[in-house]
Amino acid sequence: MIWVVACATMIAVGATFAIVRAERGPSMLDRTIALDITVTAVIAGFALYAAVQRRTDVVPVLVVLSLVGFVGSVTIARFAAVEPEGEGRVRTREEVAAEEAERRAAEEAELRPGPAPEEHHGGPAEGEVR
């Protein structure tokens, strides 16, 4: 039964590499492809399990998985848009914290009493003649 171990190892390593690519990106489409490969690896894993145990009842799972993977990749590709450089990256904890602090500072500046900014209510009407 050494072939089972060999197959499982190859599938697991392939799926791990694909997941690493999904984490690195750099764009949404790269992640789509990587997740497609992951779904295929999952299908192969289920097929291997069914083959080892000689179980027929796992086969419908393969049918469902093969359709789900397709729908996912087509949906993402349909709504792919031009991303700014570095936008698709997964941000680190520090970067997220910095962004959060910046956003909060902007909110507080807005709430501070004083003359309201022009674009808020209280400013002169658009196009008003003075």
Binding site: G14, F17, S27, A41
Partner: protein, 127 residues
């Protein structure tokens, strides 16, 4: 005699199924390595298609040869047909979206007929 021949065929089917499963698993591994190592979107698509078509069919053949029951084999044929139908559609959509959003690296392409044709069409429109 008949029994011996039957078990011989069973052994043969099992051996062939092990070979097919090993081949399919190897293609999954190759796709993972390719997706990780290749430099741009189109190359990664090229790597990813291997387990989706040949690898999937090999794994399903291996599974079918081990299960050896009619209903399961037909369901597996269905999975293979779905794979063959959906892989080109998904690849087309991803490739098109990748080209339009600038994910294709021109310096890595040997032949880029789409850019050339688009430029020709644009000059023809201007004339």
């Amino acid at each position: 005699m008949n029994e011996v021949a039957g078990s011989g065929w069973d052994t043969l089917a099992d051996v062939v199924s092990v070979v097919a499963l090993l081949g399919g698993s190897f293609l999954v591994l190759a796709a993972g390595v390719g997706a990780l190592r290749f430099p741009d979107l189109l190359a990664r698509m090229h790597a990813g298609t291997k387990p989706q078509v040949l690898g999937l069919i090999l794994v399903l053949v291996g599974l079918g040869l081990r299960l050896r029951s009619g209903a399961a084999v037909w369901a597996l044929v269905l999975v293979a047909v779905f794979g063959l139908l959906t892989a080109p559609v998904a690849a087309h959509m991803v490739g098109r979206a990748g080209y339009r959003t600038g994910k294709v690296r021109n310096d890595l392409l040997v032949a880029d007929e789409l850019t050339r044709d688009l430029r020709e069409a644009r000059t023809r429109d201007e004339v």
